[in-house]
């Protein structure tokens, strides 16, 4: 990179940082040695990240900066670094990682076989993450498994690569306690529990199975409402956190940038829809992700189409699809990535803070990890 380019680059970054004074309450920018595709909360203050290179990779449990978490006397707290509280080595890539709530245990998958690796995240006496067990998968498709942690007190994981091979495995005994009966080998985009015994198996085709583990009959898939996307469109999905009284909703996002919200009780129908303001040419489908804000009404975050993470307010969406503008767009990864080729850096993952309404973490393919607390300009204006 020439000298002039470097200066221009600095200017662009400076501009964005100055703009960020108004648009973010908190902003922290980190650089990992190797990029991560997973960001998983292991407590209210710690997250797990892991590399996805084909060779050996690291699993890291990071403590969020104390300055971000400080409730009072924030100004007196100068600590703004991530602290690596635990770390370990994985023999292969990590494409999926789930923490089992209430334990110091995490489960990973390498994205090339259906088996799972079980890890002890370590305690106060040691900073080492150790592999403790393996769980066999049912699929020989060479596809990686999706993983969901159970919501009940037993340490259980739901896992599978296709709708025909979903298993619920008890981690204490290593035995599978439930097997999904389905003949269709539909590749999965995600698995998610919505209650102790009910889970969603979301398929790349857009089909979603609502499965009650107490029932013995084979569940029927709900296809996405007809859209103009045509064939070959892939889908990912996320169910809203169950709120007391309110009906759960599911957001589906297609590779052509179409978003569909459905009522959890009627996944074949659409409550509202929108066409998101995203690029649909460059993405790596594995990176595309949609997620509901856990502490902010009607908001979803979408990433993976480009180097940005977008926040949308779905309350304005109508039954007929219309172009939607993001409420907020985090451009940090694009702005601060200094790549030799001019290809934009892709965001590999994002996750909402479980309690703080507007705090997110995001990671990009250049190894950057950002922690940001954005400001709702429309709310700030009035």
């Amino acid at each position: 990179m020439g000298e002039m380019d470097a200066a221009e680059f600095d200017d662009v970054v400076d501009d964005w940082f100055i703009e960020s004074l108004k648009t973010y309450k908190d902003l922290h920018v980190y650089q990992l040695e190797h990029p991560t595709r997973v960001i998983e909360w292991t407590s209210g203050k710690t997250v797990c990240v892991a590399g996805y290179r084909s060779a050996k990779n690291e699993l890291l449990e990071l403590l969020l900066p104390l300055k971000l978490l400080a409730e009072e006397n924030k100004g007196l707290c100068a600590e703004r670094d991530f602290k690596v509280v635990h770390g370990g080595f994985a023999e292969g890539p990590v494409h999926c990682l789930r923490h089992i709530p209430g334990t110091r245990c995490a489960v990973t998958n390498d994205g090339r076989s259906s088996g799972l690796q079980v890890w002890d995240l370590g305690g106060d006496d040691s900073d080492v993450i150790r592999r403790t067990a393996s769980v066999a998968g049912r699929s020989a498709s060479g596809r990686g498994s999706r993983i969901a942690a159970g919501l009940s007190s037993d340490p259980r994981v739901l896992h599978g690569a296709e709708s025909s091979d979903v298993l619920l495995t008890d981690l204490t005994s290593g035995q599978s306690v439930y097997k999904l009966k389905s003949d269709a080998a539909d590749p999965l985009s995600s698995l998610q529990f919505v209650s102790d015994s009910v889970f969603l198996a979301c398929c790349c085709s857009g089909n979603i199975y609502t499965v009650d583990t107490r029932a013995s009959d084979a569940p029927r898939p709900s296809p996405p409402p007809a859209t103009g996307g045509g064939d070959g469109v892939l889908w990912c999905a996320d169910a809203s956190p169950s709120s007391a009284g309110g009906a759960g909703r599911v957001a589906r996002l297609s590779s052509s940038g179409e978003a569909v919200l459905s009522d959890l009780r009627d996944l074949g129908g659409a409550v509202s829809r929108a066409r998101l303001d995203v690029l649909i040419d460059h993405h790596n489908w594995d990176d595309v992700k949609v997620s509901w804000a856990p502490a902010l009404d009607d908001c979803i975050a979408a990433s993976g189409f480009s180097g940005t993470v977008q926040i949308y307010d779905t309350s304005a969406w109508a039954a007929e699809p219309a172009a939607a503008r993001p409420l907020f767009e985090h451009r940090g990864h694009v702005v601060s990535s200094q790549r030799a080729d001019s290809l934009p850096v892709l965001v590999t993952s994002h996750v909402w803070h479980p309690e703080r309404p507007r705090t997110l973490l995001s990671a990009a393919a250049d190894g950057s990890v950002h922690v940001w607390d954005w400001v709702d300009q429309s709310a700030a204006a009035c």
Binding site: V13, D14, F17, I18, S20, L21, L27, H28, V29, Y30, Q31, L32, E33, E58, L62, P65, N73, G75, L76, C77, A78, R80, D81, F82, K83, V84, V85, H86, G87, G88, F89, D125, S126, D127, V128, I129, S336
Partner: protein, 645 residues
Amino acid sequence: SSLRRLQADSRSRGDRKNTGNSRVVYCTVSHFFSFFFSLQGAGQDVGRSCILVSIGGKNIMLDCGMHMGYNDDRRFPDFSYITQNGRLTEFLDCVIISHFHLDHCGALPYMSEMVGYDGPIYMTHPTKAICPILLEDFRKITVDKKGETNFFTSQMIKDCMKKVIPLNLHQTVQVDDELEIKAYYAGHVLGAAMVHIKVGSESVVYTGDYNMTPDRHLGAAWIDKCRPDILISESTYATTIRDSKRCRERDFLKKVHETIERGGKVLIPVFALGRAQELCILLETFWERMNLKAPIYFSTGLTEKANHYYKLFITWTNQKIRKTFVQRNMFEFKHIKAFDRSYADNPGPMVVFATPGMLHAGQSLQIFKKWAGNEKNMVIMPGYCVQGTIGHKILNGQRKLEMEGRLSLTKKLCRNNNNKTCSHQGSESNHHLLDVKLQVEYMSFSAHADAKGIMQLIRMAEPRNMLLVHGEAAKMEFLKGKIEQEFNINCYMPANGETETVTTNPSVPVDISLNLLKREMALGGPLPDTKKPRTMHGTLIMKENSLRLVSPEQALKELGLNEHQLRFTCRVQLQDPHSDSDTLHRIYTHLKSVLKGYTIQHLPDSTVMVESIVIKLSSSAEDPNTKVLLLSWSYQVIDLSYSQC
């Protein structure tokens, strides 16, 4: 002189193909480093660095820091480890100071003037210039403010600095005939250096505090691929992933901007050198971009002092600053003006940079007192504050401060006379309580290497062993594993006060006589490959400080010794009904068939020779069928004889 005949070739025939006819002299010389870690504290910012390294018979003290968290004897390193056996000057070959922070140099006058050390002390030019100013500041706070005794005096600081020899970057300094040191750029603060210490073929690199990412003010640390036996690195931040510099700056600008917008005043107490310049550059740029009008002031003394030092040490800053400096004076800022004490009472928003940085005296304290009562105002503390200072108190959340009144001077005089405080002189009215209502912000701009930085430095220097100091071993098991796996080297993490001994395998250069080399060439085999070990036979002569490998004949000649022949023999019994000559012939034929490629002769005197091995045969007197085979060989061919027997 001494002659040592080293272990002869002990390789089997099978290896011969690979190594040709070459023979090796294996020589392993073990040397030991011992590290004595003299009392470092744990925890950030309050640690204390003082490391003792023994390398190739030389003793070097690396840094001589003081513990900022203690007020008693524990603040200085315990030198009795050394002094119980004699004076420091006799024991130490030199002292090296990495940078001017007090946790790295604060005990220096104590060591040199109070414990007593007259040997050389090395530090870079900027450290030499700044270190005494900081030591004097610190002495004033401790002795004048807190009334402590048993502390070093101003004169001791001066005397200590007379023992300092300045270091230039990348310049090899010969401490004595055998010990040499070389300084490398470490970033971190102005003048911070890493140092490469070499004795013979053994070497150690000590990093001090360093920073692997350049900032507005300083460049990134850099070192040669010098492959030291040990790299000693700080590891206070080894388990962190650093937030970006820009985010730190962003927070600073955000706080300043918010205060200015609500009409408040911002006080930034700074030390004359270092971060102040960086923050000025930052604010100047920001004011320009945002078209802000609020005045920014800079203490005048500060400007002059800083300009002076920056002119002297401009090569120690980063490229951008160097360029700016050539174009215009560092402090000919458009928005930043010289401060006058009357300005503090002006209405409306303003930003003031003032010394000293810890709010213990002078202009920064005066302004603080004026502005502390207004909650619209803000004080931003960009650095560490020593215990007992106002800065330290407000950083610990104290909102009510007891300020010294006018009578404090009398008190101080009285204290000096009687060497104790005369409390009756100071009545309650001398002290007034200051309500701190302004906002207090602590921002650390100090640049340290994080986990990634440590890995980068290891990649750069390629050490054979890694030693992490200042850390908590139990919390660094993962990092240790990571370093050991990624670089295939050992990683040590000694606890405070612990000694670590590391064995090295230094390569020892040996001169080989041309004749011997020619002889080896004549024996054939592949040409020498620098990457592969090659066996060679010869006699090693160690004389004075040289090592030579010569042919045994030459060695004998040079040393006037007679050659002794050493032969091994053994008897083997066989049952064979044939005549003696037939048996011998059968042995000859058999050997011919199994030892292809060797010279085998059946001599007329009824002996068989395989190369230089002699085989004779005789019958037992009692039983002619029992044959006795006599084998005889010289020590050189020991393997062949055994392998065939």
